[in-house]
């Protein structure tokens, strides 16, 4: 969303100073390419437009009831949930990121990637697993009830704060760690030389400098929290998303459900504005000099390792261990359902969606970097990430159905792989764009200016200068989208072709009928599948921020 000035620099005055082909003016904006990109953005924003314009075209017979009896409670519940999850996710993510990025302590190398592992867990599986362990009738509660006389119960609002924060905190941890690891080494070094203690270096230098990265991550956490349905419903918490389903499935009123989606998007627009403010005034381009890590010893080292182990243990080991235990218990040689086939389908669809979304995200970030002002269609397309998948599906089905009913194509769009992948791009565009934007922000604009002065067109300058420098971020973008697609459920459920199972639909079908132990097999496969991109992502980031040495 950054505004650039270089393309508006008048070409007059530079002419003659540089050698360039006489026929082309490099300062001219590539109109044709921009038009293509705008059309693409419109195509991605179209399902959202269907949803957002619903108050104009969809009848909402029960709206009065929804507005008076559902909206206030569910809105308040949403805020309470958001606040709790974000605060706890920050507490989990920021100190861990700081320790891993700037200190050396036992197990640090393992913790680097281990703390990203929770990303591989879908929130609904994680929520069921924690509830089975620590819920009112879980083994822990039963033991405590027998021996200590009280029965803890995490299946409520406060419990859900922790459950969601434990799964989602890596969205903050990753960008925060990257920000701490490079880009502020000079300031930190200076503060250290001047004798500032570690805590005040963290509080007064690192934290303010990393604020944009942390805010960006927190925004992703907020978006994931807002569109969650499975976990929220199970924990008996009321949010706008459960309100949407209550209106749609209970009141049979899709129009009111879509209006609630508009409220949800309004809330996100507010969060986006807050995030932008948090970023305002922050330095955008950085020197990319890796920070020199400080070796901890004694109790400090023990505390650092202990903290990371605690976070890793509760966020990853506990749920994954519990899934493994269930797999072991139900392992009678037969897998429930056709897991290998579902695995293949999952990989194909995640790979295709990852690549398609990556290409689109690259084009959009190019447009944002070189365009004079931002394209409203792109901004709109970003919102796909916050709307619950089932609601996006309504938008996608409305459009595809419109075309299908007129038989403009000889095959039906609804229920085709193409539309499924398109829907994933609509939903996860923001996930793919986030790392690209972050990395681009760190590239000095003097780079593009130099390329342009030497006569390169914007696209050529982007392709030859910015794009190669984006290397790791490109892979990160595709991987993050792939992870999300592997975990995604509602879009896959409703838009899939006949006889097309993925791991998450398999797990859901078993979990839905409360066969949680039988669902452990596909759940385990989801985690393993999700871990592949997570670990690749770590490898990529590791290379990018490899440190020169440790003092």
């Amino acid at each position: 969303m950054r505004r650039r000035s270089s393309s508006s620099t008048p070409p007059v005055g530079i002419d003659g100073c540089v050698q360039r082909p006489a026929t082309r003016n490099p300062f001219r904006r590539p109109r044709r390419l921009f038009t293509v990109i705008s059309l693409l953005a419109l195509a991605l924003a179209a399902p959202l437009l269907v949803v957002l314009t619903a108050p104009l075209h969809a009848r909402a017979p029960e709206w009065e009831h929804v507005r008076e009896a559902i909206l206030p409670d569910h809105f308040a519940g949403t805020l309470e949930l958001l606040g709790g999850v974000i605060v706890i996710a920050l507490v989990l993510a920021v100190p861990s990121a700081w320790l891993v990025a700037t200190c050396d302590f036992p197990l640090r190398r393992m913790m680097r990637w281990a703390l990203v592992m929770p990303l591989a867990l879908p929130t609904y599986i994680s929520a069921f697993t924690y509830a089975a362990l620590l819920g009112p009738t879980g083994p822990v509660s039963n033991w405590l009830a027998d021996h200590a006389g009280f029965r803890p119960d995490i299946v409520d609002m406060q419990g859900l704060w922790f459950v969601l924060a434990l799964v989602l905190f890596p969205y903050i941890y990753l960008p925060a760690r990257a920000a701490f690891a490079s880009g502020m080494s000079g300031q930190l070094e200076a503060a250290r030389m001047l004798g500032a203690p570690a805590l005040s270096r963290f509080r007064r230098i690192a934290l303010p400098l990393a604020r944009p990265a942390i805010a960006g991550g927190a925004l992703l956490v907020a978006m994931e929290t807002l569109n969650d349905y499975g976990a929220v419903k199970y924990y008996g918490v009321r949010t706008l998303t459960t309100g949407i389903f209550r209106s749609w499935a209970g009141l049979y009123d899709l129009g009111s459900a879509l209006r609630l989606s508009v409220v949800l998007v309004g809330l996100v627009a507010l969060l986006l504005w807050i995030e932008r403010r948090a970023r305002r005034g922050a330095r955008q381009e950085t020197d990319q000099v890796p920070v020199a890590r400080i070796r901890l010893s004694g109790w400090r080292a023990a505390a650092a390792t202990g903290w990371c182990l605690l976070v890793f243990g509760s966020a990853a080991m506990l749920p994954i261990g519990s899934i493994l235990d269930d797999v072991w218990e139900t392992c009678d040689g037969t897998m429930h359902g056709d897991v290998p086939h579902a695995l293949w389908n999952t990989s194909v669809v995640a790979g295709a969606a990852g690549l398609v979304t990556l290409v689109i995200a690259v084009l959009f970030t190019f447009r944002e970097r070189y365009g004079r002002r931002s394209d409203p269609a792109i901004r709109l397309a970003d919102l796909g990430y916050v709307i619950p998948g089932a609601v996006i599906a309504i938008g996608v089905m409305s459009l595809a159905g419109f075309i299908d009913r007129r038989q403009w194509l000889d095959t039906a769009l609804i229920g085709s792989m193409g539309v499924l992948v398109y829907a994933f791009s609509v939903r996860f565009l923001a996930v793919g764009k986030q790392p690209l934007q972050g990395a681009l922000r760190q590239q000095s604009t003097s780079l593009d200016e130099a390329a342009r002065m030497l006569g390169a067109s914007p696209w050529r300058s982007f392709r030859r200068v910015n794009l190669p420098l984006l290397g790791p971020a490109l892979i990160a973008a595709a991987m993050l989208v792939a992870i999300d697609v592997i975990k995604e459920l509602p879009l896959t459920l409703i838009l899939r072709p006949f006889n097309f199972d993925t791991l998450s639909t398999k797990a859901y079908e078993l979990a839905r009928i409360e066969q949680l132990r039988e669902a452990s097999w596909p759940s385990l496969m989801i985690v393993i599948c999700g871990l592949v991109p997570v670990l690749l992502l770590e490898q990529v980031l590791e290379k990018r921020t490899r440190t020169p040495g440790v003092r």
Binding site: A69, N142, L251, F402, R405, M417
Partner: protein
């Protein structure tokens, strides 16, 4: 140019994904029936496989949630490949009828074996199995003679004892819809408020969780669906022994009409391209062997009176189902949700 072309590579991949090798059955083949189903059960797959073996008709399946499926059928319109719609809620079948997504079928076999209240009078949908909304109680502390009707559970003696999931769930909604149909909205609201006043804890979790909570003494009576009780009894997880040992089942009466049931049912789609095959599948689904699999494999009550119910459920007594025609569930579902909102049952 080469670079621009390479941008297109993923889209080419997409086109490749659309090739038939990704579909294990070709929906356009002659002998097929295309099913949209909300039922996510492994036993259903066994039934479909047996059907294919017997008739040579291949079953293509999309499983998704009810409301999404109805939206998909609406959007597909006359192009919809769906031949048979299966759901796990009579309310949604009734809604599909109202939205003109189904077509009336006259079939003497179906009409002979399915009781009249479990199918649409016009033949748009047919019940295949029943699930009853019953009370599970703690045999250690509860005298079941105090649990004869749904209204009994609103008496002060059950204060702090009642366990139930949230009103998001359709089976709570259809129970209240049936009460509205029988007794009117006022007494339905009184009932819902009475339950809220007696809750042992905030509504949450699944039906199975309510049963486990009885085992741990968190409450003593739970409103649950019959087939979750059957599944719990069949389960071998030692952590659930406690619940299995203490649970008894009462079949509450709704105002002299019997115990509230919802159905799992199916209807032939309005634009079915394989109507004959869809009817053949419907008829197969009420055959002895399919009904027995519904009963044994998924602990549901068969609609056919001559097919035995699962052992686990039979042990708890006999179900006398309410004979309200279930199209009423669609009529009153929205009102039921509003009453839940008014009663504070989240």
């Amino acid at each position: 140019m080469r670079n621009t072309l390479s941008l297109l590579a993923p889209f080419a991949m997409l086109a490749a994904c659309n090739s038939p090798q990704f579909h294990s059955g070709d929906p356009l083949r002659e002998q097929v029936v295309n099913v949209y189903s909300h039922r996510h059960y492994e036993s259903d797959q066994q039934i479909f496989d047996a059907f294919t073996k017997k008739t040579g008709i291949h079953v293509n399946l999309v499983m998704a949630d009810d409301d999404e499926i109805l939206t998909r059928m609406q959007q597909e319109g006359a192009n919809s490949p769906c031949d048979l719609l299966m759901t796990a809620d009579a309310g949604r079948l009734g809604l599909a009828k109202v939205r003109d997504l189904l077509q009336p079928i006259r079939d003497s076999l179906l009409e002979a074996v399915i009781p009249a209240h479990l199918r649409d009078p016009d033949g748009n949908w047919f019940g295949l199995t029943m699930r009853a909304r019953v009370f599970a109680y703690d045999k250690r502390t509860v005298d079941p003679s105090h649990l004869r009707t749904y209204a009994d559970l609103t008496k002060p003696e059950w204060k702090g004892q009642v366990l139930v999931r949230t009103s998001e769930h359709v089976y709570n909604q259809s129970l209240l819809a049936a009460m509205i149909a029988h007794e009117g909205p006022d007494s339905a609201l009184v009932w819902a408020s009475g339950i809220v006043a007696n809750l042992a804890r905030e509504p949450k979790g699944s039906d199975t969780d309510q049963l486990l909570a009885i085992g741990e003494g968190i409450g003593s009576v739970a409103i649950v669906n019959s087939y979750y009780i059957g599944k719990l009894m069949k389960n071998t997880d030692p952590a659930r022994d406690q619940a299995r040992a203490v649970i008894g089942v009462a079949f509450p009466d709704l105002d002299g009409h019997g115990t509230h049931v919802n159905i799992s049912g199916a209807g032939v789609a309005r634009y079915a391209k394989h109507k004959a095959e869809a009817i053949a599948l419907l008829e197969y689904l009420v055959s002895d062997s399919a009904q027995a699999l519904f009963a044994e494999g998924n602990e549901e009550y068969p609609v056919r009176a001559d097919v035995p119910i699962a052992r686990e459920l039979a042990a708890f007594g006999t179900l006398t189902p309410d004979t309200l025609n279930l199209q009423a569930l669609a009529t009153y579902n929205a009102e039921a949700v509003k009453l839940f909102d008014a009663s504070g049952w989240h």
